[in-house]
């Protein structure tokens, strides 16, 4: 009998994987995120620029993830250093010294998978690692899992932001129209 030394935690990861999609797709999560997004947007100084808005949106997204995924912890950590302890307590998997300048040279992903290791596959995995925040040095299966979570989260973010933008623009249009009507009446 041969045993692979994966702990039984991998079964929980499987569960997590299956639930990742459903977790992000629920209306409840979307509601939570919209609430946070609105709060975040209000908190940003007006006229701060699109980058601040994007950061706010990403932070709200990471918040909604509750620090359970690698990318969310990376985003939140990136924003704010002194709170690292909090996130450590919550996520428990944050590695110290992530802010150290990483070697720019293409470091092979940890525990490189020989099977998916065609050269192309490895390159693409690296690119994917760069795309997902905080997942550069992740092994292939973890990276794929984080990517799945991240994709689902991004989809929700886009949906929410689009709805917000539409609502705001429509509201402003109405306001403008109402203003005009009033001025016409007057």
């Amino acid at each position: 009998m041969i045993s692979a030394s994966s702990s039984s935690a991998s079964s929980s990861r499987k569960k997590k994987m299956k639930q990742a999609e459903s977790k992000w797709r629920t209306a409840a999560q979307e509601r939570i995120y919209r609430r946070r997004l609105l709060e975040a947007l209000r908190a940003t100084a007006s006229g701060a620029g699109p980058r601040a808005v994007k950061e706010a949106a990403d932070s709200a997204l990471a918040l909604t993830a509750r620090g359970q995924s690698q990318w969310s912890r990376a985003i939140l950590l990136g924003r704010c250093r002194p709170r690292r302890k909090l996130l450590l307590k919550a996520g428990g998997k944050v590695r110290r010294g992530r802010r150290r300048p990483r070697p720019a040279a293409p470091v092979p992903v940890a525990a490189a998978a020989p099977a998916p290791a065609g050269k192309k596959v490895r390159d693409r995995l690296r690119v994917l690692g760069r795309l997902v925040p905080g997942c550069r040095q992740l092994s292939a299966p973890n990276l794929l899992e984080e990517a799945a979570d991240y994709v689902a989260a991004l989809e929700m973010q886009v949906k929410a932001m689009r709805a917000l933008a539409d609502a705001l623009s429509a509201a402003s249009l109405n306001a403008a129209a109402a203003g005009e009507a009033e001025s016409n009446v007057v």
Binding site: I2, A28, A45, S46
Partner: protein, 524 residues
């Protein structure tokens, strides 16, 4: 685990008043339903081994019940007791019932073949008592249904409980002649939930012996994943799916188990989940995993982890796992439980390296498949490289969209405060007809973003409250309760996520995020 915590809190919040002994009585069990069961056996039980001893003690205890078939009453009272302990506070008949019949669950193990208890007799005997407390046992999910007294509902709930518990607690409870129950309850089942339970109960009508084994194993195993399932805001359909899967599993097991409990169980048990896992929600698989793993533990037969090894493969190939099942029979038992054991398939290398590689490769390919479902348009693509290409493109496009939308929102930002004030009086008509979607702040307040039918009262109250500095969870929760379009699953998920475990976490995180938003002050 968080999910267990969720589940436990849900128990409390849903108003099901578990006796305080529940937590103290369970020695080392970590799952709520497990401890609940342990309690009922009158002994704190840490593991299934203890459970067996408790069972045997119960067997030996004399049954003092007069009525018709002692078997039927024994088991029925068992259930009644189970539920009674659960709902001691709520239902008076339960106490009456419990006092009437002290402890006569003797026949549980004595006569497994005689599982055709006439629950009818038992039911007639203890009118509203046994069935009603029973309903609490399955958990908060059935909680709302417990409010109605009456024999019919009790019977329906009993069948539901039987149906559910045969998946969770024991085949033994399922045996409760669900056939009989379902007959009675079919005519009376008031709610859809009961209907599903009844349907499941019907599926279990034939149940041979050896359910004691099932009970021992299943109680520990399936109750756990069921707890987590409940904690995740279950829906009845998914539960019934799971239960049917369990039914098929158990039936397959018991059908083939006439003497070869050891081997046949594993093989058939694995085959059943194989067939059913394809059709059932993925959460089912973990349940099977746990149940299979637990089934091996108390029995102390082949290493329980052997089954766990097969589980990673169950959803992929039916045949190789089947073959693995056969191989399993010949392998020696014993293995540390926290390892995933891999069987060499036919015609494949068996050295350690290749097996480990294969496990990793399968993990990776599983994740890739998951990603494939996530990313649209990836179905036609084959090959890891091209698929990864698609995924990368998709992620990049999503990120670009986020940037673009953030630019748009930045231009709209100064108008946000102004729009808020204007939105208040106008949201009512706006959300009705003018706007394609309900107004955004109203969306936040109510849950009706998908319903397109906001209720004005809720809207007003919510919008006014939402315009304040902070959204209060209470208002949101009240809106949640008011809105009809939301399933309780999402409600549960919503109340779970922010309010229960993550209260402190949320506040801290929010402060973290706010500091990142460029504000100068740091709220603590």
């Amino acid at each position: 685990m968080e999910k267990e915590g969720f589940w436990g809190l849900q128990w409390q919040s849903s108003g099901a008043k578990l006796p305080p002994e529940l937590n103290s009585g369970s020695a080392a069990s970590d799952q709520l339903p497990q401890c609940f069961l342990n309690l009922n056996w009158k002994q704190p039980m840490a593991h299934d081994a203890d459970f067996e001893s408790a069972l045997s003690s119960l067997v030996s205890s004399p049954c003092s019940n007069p009525p018709a078939s002692a078997d039927g009453n024994g088991i029925g009272e068992l259930i009644g007791r189970l539920g009674g302990i659960c709902n001691s506070n709520d239902i008076s008949p339960s106490s009456r019932y419990r006092s009437a019949d002290a402890s006569c669950y003797s026949t549980l193990l004595n006569s497994p073949p005689k599982l055709n208890l006439s629950v009818m007799d038992h039911r007639q005997q203890g009118r509203g008592g046994p069935p009603m407390p029973v309903n609490r046992v399955p958990g908060p999910h059935i909680g709302p249904f417990s409010a109605e007294p009456g024999f019919e509902d009790g019977a329906a709930r009993l069948s539901c409980f039987a149906g559910r518990s045969s998946g969770s607690f024991a085949g033994q409870f399922g045996f409760l002649e669900p056939g009989n129950l379902s007959q009675a309850s079919r005519s009376q089942s008031p709610k859809g939930g009961f209907g599903s339970c009844v349907g499941v109960g019907q599926s279990r009508s034939e149940r041979p012996a050896h359910l004691e084994m099932e009970m021992r194993s299943k109680i520990g195993g399936s109750s756990t994943p069921e707890a987590t399932e409940l904690g995740n805001g279950p829906e009845e359909s998914s539960l019934s799916d799971r239960m049917t899967a369990d039914a098929s599993t158990l039936r397959a097991i018991t059908d083939n188990n006439s003497g070869k409990w050891k081997t046949a169980a594993k093989r058939k048990g694995r085959e059943a989940p194989l067939s059913s896992s394809a059709t059932n929600p993925p959460a089912n698989m973990t349940e099977e995993e746990n149940s299979d793993a637990k089934r091996c533990k108390p029995a102390d037969r082949n290493g329980g982890a052997k089954n766990a090894a097969v589980k990673p493969k169950t959803e992929q190939n039916g045949d190789p796992a089947h073959r693995e099942g056969k191989d399993n029979d010949h392998k020696p038992p014993e293995s540390p439980k926290d390892y995933i054991h891999v069987r060499a398939r036919r015609g494949q290398a068996t050295d350690a390296h290749s097996l480990a590689e294969r496990v990793r490769r399968e993990k990776i390919s599983k994740r890739m498949k998951f990603l494939q479902d996530l990313v649209p348009g990836c179905n036609k693509v084959t090959g890891k490289a091209v698929m990864l290409d698609e995924i990368i493109n998709y992620v990049q496009s999503l990120q670009r969209q986020v940037e673009f939308l953030s630019m748009k929102l930045a231009t709209l930002n100064p108008q946000m405060d102004v729009s808020m004030e204007n939105l208040l009086p106008k949201d009512m008509y706006q959300s009705r007809g003018l706007m394609p979607q309900p107004v955004y702040p109203a969306e936040i307040g109510t849950v009706l973003s998908y319903a397109h039918q906001p209720q004005t009262v809720a809207l007003q109250s919510i919008v006014t409250s939402s315009l304040e500095a902070q959204f209060s969870l209470n208002s949101l929760q009240s809106s949640l309760q008011q809105s009809q379009s939301m399933q309780h699953a999402t409600t549960d998920a919503y109340t779970d996520a922010p309010s229960q475990l993550g209260g402190l976490w949320e506040d801290d995180l929010q402060s973290v995020a706010q500091t990142g938003f460029g504000q100068n002050h740091e709220p603590t």
